[in-house]
């Protein structure tokens, strides 16, 4: 019996949180279990900060929004019914707080938007300069895309330099594009939930996502090319 207990403590306890389903986690939070709260804070705060950065002009403000989000979680815990996932609920609270905050800081956001690209400038979401634009071969690739090698996503993800370049490319996107790609591709939220969180239509969401992905692919393409050349 004692042995069983020890085995339980040794193997089950470190994973205790992962083995709990969300309703159990919520119950522990409602009961004021601090260890559980510390674990959800550690698990989700990085994602919350990353999403907040897509709404507000500085890291300092984003950090405040993340704090406000957690305070919103305390207030909402009793009412949360678990109809969405916990993560989606967090993103919804954060989005509402960040929007309010963004409006208050609109002077700064406005400035950033003037220097950056506006959503309307983002064109068709196609790299027009990749295609022949006139003549009988219009619509064909100027330079046909080459195959990226098999381990590309892993290699890109492991490279600090490329990671920074991707982050820079995402940060340079118009706000709404950045919000959509952060939720959909960086966080893996379903498109339906992205629409709910952001309050946009499915079509609008897809257009924004398409433009954002097209831009980021272009950034990655320069690294993929360099890589294949360096092999020669």
């Amino acid at each position: 019996m004692v042995l069983l207990r020890l085995v339980y403590i040794a193997f089950a306890m470190p994973n205790a949180f992962e083995n709990l389903d969300e309703s159990q986690v919520l119950e522990l939070l409602r009961n004021g279990d601090e260890a559980t709260f510390a674990q959800v804070v550690d698990q989700y705060s990085g994602s919350l900060l990353r999403l907040a950065m897509a709404y507000v002009p500085s890291r300092a403000v984003a950090e405040e929004v993340v704090q406000e989000t957690w305070l919103g979680v305390f207030e909402g815990l009793a009412r949360f019914e678990g109809r969405s996932s916990f993560k989606t609920w967090l993103f919804t609270i954060l989005t509402n707080r960040a929007k309010t905050r963004g409006q208050r800081e609109s002077r700064y956001v406005g400035l950033a938007e003037k220097t950056g690209m506006d959503d309307d400038d983002a064109g068709t979401g196609v790299d027009l300069d990749l295609f022949i634009q006139a003549g009988t071969r219009a619509g064909h690739w100027i330079e046909p895309p080459h195959a990226w090698d098999h381990g590309t996503p892993e290699r890109f993800a492991l490279s600090k330099e490329i990671g920074e370049q991707i982050e820079r490319a995402i940060a340079a996107l118009p706000h709404t594009q950045r919000q959509v790609i952060t939720l959909r591709d960086l966080e893996g939220v379903s498109s339906e939930e992205v629409c709910n969180i952001m309050g946009v239509t499915e079509t609008n969401q897809r257009v924004l996502l398409h433009r954002a992905r097209t831009r980021v692919r272009k950034t990655l393409a320069s690294f993929a090319k360099e890589d294949s050349e360096s092999l020669q």
């Binding site: 004021g32 601090e34 900060l49 305390f74 196609v126 619509g139 064909h140 195959a147 892993e154 890109f156």
Partner: protein
Amino acid sequence: MNYNLKQQAMTYMAGNLTCQEVASIITEYLEDAMPFSTRLRFHLHLGLCFSCRNYLKQMKYTIQTLGKLPTEPIAPEIREELLRRFRHWKKDNP
């Protein structure tokens, strides 16, 4: 004339989509938001066009890469502050 005919036939077999059009609707394809007929034409084009197959693969790799980007943890002071607030919240709302 002969060249034009050949070109037209190829275009027809390739689903009547240009490469530029394929690139412009690639997210609809990936998000499974494409009408059946368009999907069919999309597939016809891909079947004949290795460039667009490569482009589709590049897009998939881009998405996979984005899903692997690590997040940065929040500052330890903020974490401590949040834990402190949680303790107080529970004390005030038992």
